[in-house]
């Protein structure tokens, strides 16, 4: 299995505050990775640096063998990276279907293998929306949605760019038990179709059910990386979550 994402020595500071401290990560294609850690441990900063929303000061990021450090966020998305935002950021003046149209037009359609003909786009939007259970609201505006529905829209929008790597940043927050299962099943189905998934979550049940591998970040450092069953028993991890 080839390496899809290779992060080496990634470091990021905000003024005097060290958000990321020399993070290494090798992600094989097709893996389901869970990324956990206490609040403020740098998970979202990590995602931002990998995707290009923020620039890391040290270290390298390689995607499918290609160095992407010099590429802007939209260029990385076009290569096949997609992320959902932890706090949903929908396009407020566009309908849900139109929200999905943007990544289709600007990401999926830039690659021959994921190209969708103009006439087929509305159907594709509808298809993506029904995967997250929002098909009946396709013509509504994001302002009509609940917080939870907006998270689903975030996920759908990330999926709509036909990514090779999907980073789901706390997509399950606030969902009911049944909804969590629904989205988990969706993510696993996507993974079976070949999409590599990084899931950032606080809901341990979901992370353990989903992940083939678990990485733990604490205060900007990676403190554990391996089989989920072993990681949750790692004393340092337990200490980080429950205190001394």
């Amino acid at each position: 299995m080839s390496t899809l994402l290779e992060v080496s020595g990634m470091g990021k500071r905000f003024g005097g505050f060290v958000a990321l401290d020399l993070i290494d990560l090798n992600l094989p294609e097709g893996q389901r990775l869970g990324l956990i850690g206490p609040n403020g441990s740098g998970k979202s900063t990590f995602v931002n640096c990998v995707c290009g929303t923020l620039r890391n000061e040290t270290g390298q990021v390689r995607f499918a063998g290609q160095r992407v450090d010099a590429l802007s966020a939209h260029e990385r998305t076009r290569l096949g990276m997609a992320r959902s935002f932890q706090l949903p950021r929908p396009f407020a003046s566009l309908s849900l279907a139109e929200n999905l149209r943007v990544p289709i037009l600007y990401a999926a359609n830039t690659r021959a293998e994921s190209r969708i003909a103009q006439a087929a786009i509305p159907a594709r939007c509808q298809e993506m929306l029904s995967l997250v259970g929002l098909a009946d609201k396709a013509e509504r505006l994001p302002s009509d949605l609940t917080q939870i529905e907006m998270r689903k829209l975030e996920l759908a929008r990330a999926m709509a760019s036909s990514p090779r790597l999907l980073i789901a940043d706390e997509s399950l927050a606030g969902l009911s038990h049944a909804e969590v299962d629904e989205i988990l099943a969706l993510l696993i189905r996507l993974n079976e179709q070949g999409i590599t998934v990084i899931m950032i979550e606080h809901i341990m049940r979901a992370v353990l059910a989903f992940s083939q591998r678990l990485v733990v970040l604490v205060a900007g450092r990676k403190v554990a990386d391996g089989d989920p069953k072993d990681v949750v028993r790692d004393p340092e991890v337990v200490r980080a979550y429950l205190g001394e």
Partner: protein, 320 residues
């Protein structure tokens, strides 16, 4: 409705309008009509960057003046050029100015771009005021030809026709943009630029396209001005009135659609003309100075921005 059909309909309406006005031969109609159409082009141009993409350009007068002063320079240096060619050159230079300003400032937050456009207007005004070749503050005379080419008759009617055709072109482009890939990209940038970038939209490139297109159209609006007025000086060309109207019309009419600036131009232009020539002053027994006319536009704009952010178009649009 496909774009070609829209263009045809507009052309038909314009043709009917023009022929009717020629037949009636009421010269005031051509003058007032030119003013309204000029603002239509100016407002539509502004709206491509402002309403569609969410970046406010306060330096409207700079782009308008580039169009006008290019015509002055060409008139002196190459008077054999037909006006449409001068307009295209002026519009292109204005588009390049937009590109340049954008390149310098669009990597920063939107507000810095807006302030930079304000700066551009003042710098340009100072440069032109000090440039003797085009008359500077003293002004320059631009004598229009006696008769109109192609259609004969009064030259002002020719200018009206030119502006009418420009309006059609600009409106067709604006409408085509709305539902195009570019248009969706613009809207994404306007709604949430970081999210747009993350969904694959090349934000800087699109912003530069919008700025250039917008600047170019505003330059087109200003290009025939010297012939229309016969005289041009830096104070009147850079009059803040143009900037306020260019903003007010889309903001009042509605920024999300090509129809907004049209409604805004018709309403505001019409209102201003009516105030100017009507018997309102006699009727109310007061004298309304010309500035009040202009003040009303400002007040209307602020009122709409506060109370009806979607403009008149928004008031009529069905809720989804």
């Amino acid at each position: 409705m496909r774009n070609a059909a829209f263009a045809l309909i507009l052309t038909a309406v314009a043709a009917v309008l023009f022929i009717a006005l020629r037949w009636v031969n009421y010269s005031y109609a051509f003058v007032a009509g030119y003013a309204v159409l000029q603002f239509l082009v100016l407002g539509t141009g502004w709206n491509i960057l402002g309403g569609y993409t969410g970046y406010v350009n306060f330096g409207v007068t700079a782009f308008f003046a580039i169009g006008a002063y290019t015509t002055v320079v060409l008139h002196k240096a190459a008077p054999f050029l037909p006006l449409p060619v001068m307009m295209l050159i002026g519009g292109t230079i204005a588009a390049l100015a937009g590109l340049g300003t954008g390149y310098l400032t669009l990597r920063l937050r939107g507000v810095f771009f807006s302030i930079a456009t304000l700066a551009l207007a003042v710098v340009l005004q100072t440069l032109i005021t000090n440039w003797d070749f085009v008359g500077g503050a003293r002004g320059a005379y631009v004598i229009p030809p006696r008769t109109a080419p192609l259609i004969g008759g009064d030259y002002k009617q020719y200018l009206f026709l030119i502006m009418l055709i420009t309006s059609i072109v600009v409106l067709v482009v604006a409408r085509a943009l709305e539902r195009s890939t570019l248009g969706y990209g613009f809207a994404a940038i306007r709604d949430d630029e970081a999210a747009a970038e993350a969904t694959g939209v090349p934000t800087l490139r699109l912003k530069l396209i919008a700025t250039s297109l917008s600047g170019g159209f505003m330059g087109l609006a200003g290009a025939p001005m010297p012939y229309f007025m016969g005289y041009l000086n830096s104070t009147s060309t850079f009059d803040l009135n143009y900037a306020v109207n260019a903003l007010a019309m889309p903001l009042i009419g509605g920024t999300s659609s090509w129809a907004g600036p049209v409604i805004g131009a018709a309403l505001v232009g019409g209102l201003q003309e009516w105030l100017r020539v009507s018997n309102l002053q006699e009727w109310l027994h007061i004298s309304i100075p010309s500035e009040a006319n202009v003040l009303i536009v400002g007040v209307l704009m602020v009122t709409f921005v506060i109370a009806a952010p979607q403009g008149i178009v928004g008031l009529f649009r069905k809720k989804r």
